[in-house]
Amino acid sequence: MSFRILGTGSGLPSLCKTNDDLAKIMDTDDEWIRTRTGIEERRICGEETITDLAELAAKRALEDSGVTAEELDLIICATLSGDYITPSMACVLQARIGAKCPAFDLNAACTGFLYAMDVATGYFARNPKMKILIVAAEAISKLVDWRERNTSVIFADGAGAVVLGEGEDLLAIRLTAKGNTHALAAPNVSGNCPFRKESELEPFLQMDGKEVFRFAVSSMCRDIKTVMKLAGVTGEEIDYVLPHQANMRILDSAIGRLDIDGEKFLTNINCRGNTSAAAVPLLLDEVNKAGTLKKGNLLAMSSFGGGLTTGACILRWSK
């Protein structure tokens, strides 16, 4: 009992910043960024809010699926960078698109989209006739310290969405979590309560790049192997892998350790950067709209991020 993907959508900010643009405001250069991350340019929210991008992605996914907002039974937003702590991004989005269904946010950092698909599977088990909208939208540019090049050159903004309906296309999914507050963390607002000391946490996203690299490569390899085994498929049978677009170096290292042809790994990190939870559905929409995916293709998805969380799945593409 799972679901099928009826349609995809994405939303990107109009503002595009190249590595050369960043070199003008911090101590870095194009070659430094390219060789360490594989990123050439990224989109950053300038005029738009992250809610605007979520709305755009949602509307495009609804259009692609032929489902109306009124028909939706549930909206899940995977995000940690919405415009409000409350209301949730999902509630704001519900009003924007004119839906009437329950709506909530889910925070599993960069793995949020995989977690949301797993949550959706539970709803489909209860009622296979549902229509569920998942939107993963992140504006990590709001969280990074723009004086610190190790994170500000990597993270970017964007949104990806899928509409799910009745089907049996999710063949296997596996999620993990291992609580850790030092490898990758961003503190919440601390307010101005007069009865305690001010928070000593820097109000920015902090990342231990070396620890995250090691965690990312090993978990991606472990998770993809696990879901292939659960689904009973081989590396040869996988048509495409849609990995989290975290860092090209992580992908290259994982590709070298997996028994799947490296050409099957789809990437857009060169022009999108790391958009956290949005990365996988954003890539899915781009390859869907480009006509890369064919009906019956077997897809592997894998993500990892703050938490530390990880997730992977095997999905049949039947659109």
Binding site: R214, V217, S253
Partner: protein
């Protein structure tokens, strides 16, 4: 094969280092490895020697890594 020879082979195979440039006293910078390369090297060494290694700031040369592997193997 000595630990040094195995480490040198991994540096050649995985990191495209030139074999004749790899010495016990070679630093990562001399071998043109950045911080992520050293993390990947440690992962490769752990697989090769079936040990658990922690790359720390004191491990600056090939020789430092060779000594850490030999200590882990004892």
């Amino acid at each position: 094969m000595t630990t040094f020879e195995k480490v040198a082979n991994i540096l050649v195979d995985a990191k495209d280092c030139e074999a004749d440039k790899i010495k016990m006293e070679s630093t990562w910078a001399e071998l043109e490895l950045d911080s992520l390369d050293t993390v990947e090297l440690v992962m490769n060494l752990e697989d090769e020697f079936s040990i658990s290694l922690e790359m720390n700031e004191d491990m600056k040369t090939v020789g430092d890594v060779v000594k850490a592997i030999d200590a882990a193997l004892e």
